[in-house]
């Protein structure tokens, strides 16, 4: 009887922890459809009013456009640089490999505030603050480790014999890369690109320092408004932010599943 009791207690505890993880994350969704402006729950009158407010507001529109631009630019930069680094790390034998790996991964560990102020001071001097390019460059630093991890995993699984086999069948090095290596790396690269986008899309600390009133991302605008007044409009924005992230992650999951099928 006791093991059974222990087992159901563990199950109950796990359920509660799972709810603690997910409920606050999804809490913005019902909040954003709440009819009253006081942000209380539960409610009986649902409304899409707050979404209308957000979609018709020019400042949210501009911020969303900035976020998308920064996200796409970050994806392009981080994916191309990260793929090269990951392939070299997975395949290459050269001195300083360990140091390079630590360097590439360290933006995951070094406090973002520290990276943010250092970047801010440089970008003020270089005139890169308040620009989409500046934001994307800074976000690329933060996104790079995720791309490298995702592509490295794919590159490690890529057996080198495939490339030898292709060469023995008459493929020149460039053809081998295009026809064999790249297609086999593709799932890792796509995963890395999605991670890079989500990293940029949600990032707020670095963006706070580098944004200007004209060029600011959605999280930055949300941050300034959260500090002044909490409104259901922000819940609508939050829902949009979370929805895009979750779509990316679910897309990634489906991609993996497809790969394994």
């Amino acid at each position: 009887m006791r093991p059974v009791l222990a087992k159901s207690l563990l199950g109950l505890l796990s359920l509660l922890i799972g709810l603690f993880l997910i409920l606050p994350t999804l809490f913005v969704v019902p909040m954003s459809f709440n009819g009253s402006s006081s942000l209380g729950l539960p409610t009986r009158n649902w409304t899409t009013h707050w979404y209308t407010t957000v979609f018709t507001s020019s400042q949210w529109g501009e911020a969303a456009w900035t976020s998308v631009q920064v996200g796409i630019l970050t994806v392009l930069l981080a994916t191309s640089l990260g793929t090269l680094i990951a392939v070299a790390l997975a395949r290459g034998t050269f001195r300083g490999r360990g140091v390079l790996q630590a360097l590439v991964l360290s933006p995951m560990i070094i406090p973002v505030v520290v990276v943010a102020i250092g970047t801010y001071m440089n970008f003020v001097a270089w005139g890169l603050t308040g620009s989409v390019l500046g934001l994307a460059l800074a976000h690329t630093v933060l996104a790079l480790p995720f791309v490298v991890v995702a592509v490295s995993a794919a590159a490690r699984q890529l057996d080198q014999t495939y490339e030898l086999a292709a060469a023995s069948l008459g493929a020149r090095p460039r053809t081998v890369f295009r026809r064999i290596t790249l297609p086999l790396l593709a799932p890792g690269v796509v995963a890395g690109a999605l991670f890079a986008f989500v990293t940029s899309w949600d990032e707020v600390v670095v963006a706070l320092f580098l944004s200007s009133p004209d060029v600011r991302t959605m999280p930055v605008l949300m941050w300034t408004q959260v500090r002044s007044q909490v409104s259901p409009e922000l819940a609508a924005v939050g829902t949009l932010l979370v929805a895009v992230s979750m779509l990316s992650v679910v897309g990634l999951h489906l991609l993996r599943k497809d790969q394994n099928a």
């Binding site: 057996d159 014999t161 030898l164 086999a165 060469a167 023995s168 493929a171």
Partner: protein, 380 residues
């Protein structure tokens, strides 16, 4: 692919040397293949056979030596220009391409048009009896089917040479036997010249025209299965191919005999003994005659006591402890009239002098082995 079978050398490997981190892996390997020949490299793992194969394919660069295909030196030619077919140990089928597109790959690399490449790939697929599996991805095929696709891919572009690196290692025993015959059928059908690597001696005996026995980076002996079994030139080969009993004694050139502690043997007529010194006599278990009871004095016989008697169906295997304490093995085919012995029986073992092989005693090639790396190091 060549149809002009003949005596001309198709592939020549001359004085190949290769070291990894200062350790010699391939040490002065030379061999010559005739067109259409099936040569197997056999040896324990780490003896250099796969490295030799990888140098022929172009995956490794030899430190010294030459590889010539119909007289043309391949050593400086990159892998993709050698036109050598290779079947890999784990097949190396491209996981993102269907069976048919895997086979069409080498044709496309050679500029064959898409439809023509597909047509020829399809006929290769049919030759390995997988015509119905064309659209499947490698992971949807069984191990044996993947093996066939790999073989079809390696021969579809009609390479001069086909290299196979333990291609059956991943298959179970039964499938392996089927595939051995299948590979022989197909390679004969296309007339391919094959270099095959395995560590399975039975596989080598079944498939090969000639076998090269590798040991510690060198070829110990190269010859037909019969050569190697009946006329081994070293104890390593005698031991590696089949089972053998080794008797150690001293040659007495004046008398034409070899004298052991408790026996005297005639020198086989095929051998000549020049100096007196330690020698080994190799006797295959099936060449030993066994009879119960002690025998009168004489040459080419030994007395002993049966230690173990094992019934193996077609043969009975006896392990006999002889006077000097060593164990000899003896196999008696079941004829219905053979005498049956039990453990503890006193017996006499005898042999015909021409059915033993005389070899220099347990030569350990250490000094030569040591000299080589230093030599190679100086050259590098």
């Amino acid at each position: 692919m060549t149809t002009a079978a003949g005596t001309k050398a198709e592939l020549e490997v001359v004085g190949l040397h290769k070291q990894f981190n200062g350790v010699p892996v391939v040490n002065d390997v030379s061999l010559t293949l005739r067109a259409g020949e099936f040569l197997t490299m056999l040896g324990p793992s780490g003896s250099g056979k796969t490295t030799t194969l990888r140098m022929i394919a172009g995956f490794e660069h030899p430190d010294r030596g030459e590889i010539r295909l119909r007289g043309q030196d391949l050593t400086a030619l990159p892998v993709y220009e050698r036109g050598i077919g290779m079947v890999f140990q784990n097949y190396a089928l491209f996981p993102h391409l269907s069976a048919l597109r895997n086979i069409a790959f080498p044709l496309e690399m050679r500029g064959v048009g898409r439809t023509e490449a597909r047509r020829r790939a399809m006929s290769a697929l049919e030759m390995v009896e997988l015509g119905s599996q064309a659209k499947k991805l490698p992971k949807q095929l069984s191990g044996g089917q993947q093996q066939r696709v790999a073989l079809a891919r390696a021969i579809v572009f009609e390479p001069d040479i086909l290299l196979m690196d333990e291609p059956l290692g991943a298959l179970d025993k039964r499938l392996r036997e089927t595939m051995q015959l299948e590979i022989m059928r197909i390679t004969r059908e296309v007339g391919a010249t094959v270099v095959y690597v395995t560590h399975d001696q039975e596989e080598a005996l079944v498939m090969s025209d000639r076998i090269a026995i590798y040991n510690q980076g060198r070829i110990e002996q190269i010859g037909t299965a019969q050569d190697l079994y009946e006329r081994p030139t070293s104890l390593f080969v005698a031991d590696f191919i089949g089972e053998s009993n080794v008797l150690t004694g001293h040659a007495e050139p004046g008398n034409g005999v070899v004298r052991g502690a408790t026996w005297v043997a005639d020198v086989p007529s095929s051998a000549t003994v020049t100096g007196s010194g330690p020698v080994s006599l190799v006797v295959r278990p099936e060449m030993l005659r066994i009879a119960s009871g002690a025998a009168p004095e004489g040459r080419n016989r030994l007395e002993g006591r049966v230690q173990e008697a094992i019934y193996l169906g077609g043969v009975r295997k006896y392990t006999v402890r002889v006077a000097d304490g060593s164990l000899l093995e003896c196999r008696v085919p079941r004829t219905g009239t053979e005498s049956v012995l039990d453990p503890g029986d006193e017996v006499t073992l005898s042999w015909h002098p021409d059915q033993v092989v005389l070899l220099p005693a347990a030569e350990r090639a250490e000094p030569a082995e040591r000299a080589e790396p230093a030599d190679a190091g100086a050259a590098a």
